[in-house]
């Protein structure tokens, strides 16, 4: 039974994530006054990737990429998706989620750097430094919320926000939401912060040596990551949801917001990206924390 539920969770995350990517590409195309690919383009891409021949340099590359994808799918189980939650006891412990996500990035980093291509390693060193960059504002904002809701479980945070829009965290703690929204932009790797897979500078960064099946797994991991990160922010600030579709809708709104910024903004130089993340979002998060402590 658990296994079925597990597979159900995994597939919802992947399908919704791919759906978001497809609609996102169409949305960006429409911003650029182009017709854009069909919304199920992401599914076609994934099937094509899995049908292609693939290569790997050593067993660590396969193991790493599998671990990356497993890390992200595993984290989704800890996050309450609307009314569904997989674990009753540890329903959405924010500390577990943040640390389980690092398995995803560690796995991908290990797999990709085993390929021995300097482009991918430069991409990984940038990804890790950026991770430190966006973790700070995110953590300060989350700490504020934990103090307020007296527990680090997303489930309790969601129940605290139930009942009408007025007591959503986005209304009660606007600064925290702004900080987390900026951090989300960097988490998803969208345009101002896509220093990790900068196609022109380091030839699509970590994904340089991934082909066919490997690239397919990396694609699915990115889709699941979109689902996960937007889901966390929905639970934290937009008060979760009492039915599934409302949850997906809220996630979609957040994703579209970050895509709008992505469609129109150039790319940061790498040091500036980290410095920017340590100034503006952190300032907002600290203001939020002071407000919570003082009141």
């Amino acid at each position: 039974m658990i296994v079925l539920k597990f597979i159900g969770y995994g597939f919802t995350a992947i399908i919704i994530g791919l759906l978001f990517m497809g609609i996102g590409r169409k949305y960006t195309a429409r911003i650029q006054r182009r017709y854009g690919p069909p919304f199920w383009q992401a599914f076609i891409d994934v099937t094509k990737l899995f049908s292609k021949q693939s290569l790997s340099h050593n067993w660590i590359m396969d193991f790493g990429i599998l671990m990356g994808f497993a890390g992200i799918v595993g984290t989704i189980l800890f996050m309450p998706i609307g009314p569904w939650h997989f674990f009753s006891l540890m329903n959405g412990n924010i500390v577990i989620i943040m640390y389980f996500m690092t398995i995803g990035s560690l796995g991908m980093a290990m797999g990709v750097s085993a390929s021995g291509n300097p482009n991918s390693t430069i991409g990984i060193s940038r990804a890790l430094t950026l991770m430190v960059g966006y973790e700070i504002p995110f953590v300060i904002a989350v700490i504020g919320l934990i103090f307020v809701s007296k527990s680090s479980l997303l489930g309790t945070m969601v129940s605290l926000q139930s009942g009408g829009i007025m007591n959503w965290n986005i209304i009660k703690y606007p600064f925290g939401f702004i900080a987390v929204e900026m951090a989300l932009q960097a988490m998803l790797g969208e345009k101002p912060f896509d220093v990790i897979t900068a196609p022109s500078e380091i030839a699509s960064g970590p994904m340089v040596e991934l082909s066919g099946k490997m690239m397919g797994l990396a694609f699915l991991q990115h889709a699941a990551q979109i689902f996960l990160e937007t889901g966390i922010v929905v639970n934290l600030f937009l008060g979760g949801a009492n039915n599934i579709w409302e949850f997906f809708l809220k996630q979609f709104v957040l994703f579209i917001l970050s895509l709008t910024v992505n469609a129109i903004s150039p790319r940061f130089k790498f040091e500036d990206a980290v410095k920017w993340l340590w100034t503006w979002p952190t300032v907002f998060a600290l203001i939020q924390l002071l407000i919570i402590i003082l009141t």
Partner: protein, 188 residues
């Protein structure tokens, strides 16, 4: 104009089903050698928008399925094209832009520019024109997609089948050891 293979290398039944997905999402590696590179941005952006068919630019040969050779190829760049082609993964196609890849174009008599690209790597589709306009490129893509759907675009299998022939041609150009003109011809 499609360079179909002589022997029967068409794709089998199940392969045909996959071909639908391969056709609808071709990732192109854009090896811009000659003047054809200028034609690609218009096809990508608002007016012609090739992304409608799922065709998008990719940075590395490992992820790409479509190799665009957009112009003349000198011997040195031919060596790089061959290495990039061999680094690409299996169902892969090559499109030769413009007359330079068909018969050497205006460089037909140059001592470094090759005359026929299809002697060295299998070309699935060549688009005529001394730099074809975006409309021609779009129809080119359409014909390639139909060929893939029908299972005829099998350049990569042809390359594997008679690899020695291609290798011989490549070595005749890249790995020459004795001079081309014998001393007698030089005198007159």
């Amino acid at each position: 104009m499609i360079q179909t293979s002589t022997k029967d290398l068409h794709d089998s039944g199940f392969e045909k089903v996959l071909n639908f997905f391969r056709k609808r999402s071709m990732w192109m590696l854009h090896y811009c050698t000659g003047c054809g590179a200028m034609e690609l941005p218009p096809t990508m952006t608002t007016r012609w928008d090739m992304e409608r068919f799922g065709i998008g630019p990719m940075a590395t040969p490992r992820q790409a399925d479509l190799l665009l050779i957009t112009g003349y190829l000198s011997i040195k760049s031919l060596k790089r094209v061959i290495r990039t082609y061999e680094q690409m993964q299996d169902p892969k196609w090559v499109i030769g832009f413009g007359s330079c890849t068909i018969n050497g174009g205006i460089y037909y008599d140059s001592y470094t520019v090759i005359n026929r690209l299809s002697d060295y790597i299998p070309v699935d589709l060549t688009i005529e024109g001394c730099m074809p306009r975006p409309e021609a490129i779009m129809t080119g893509f359409q014909t390639l997609m139909d060929a893939i759907q029908k299972g005829e675009a099998v350049g990569y299998k042809k390359y594997k089948e008679n690899y020695e022939w291609y290798k011989k041609n490549q070595d005749s150009v890249l790995g020459r050891t004795e001079p081309v003109f014998t001393s007698s011809e030089v005198k007159k």
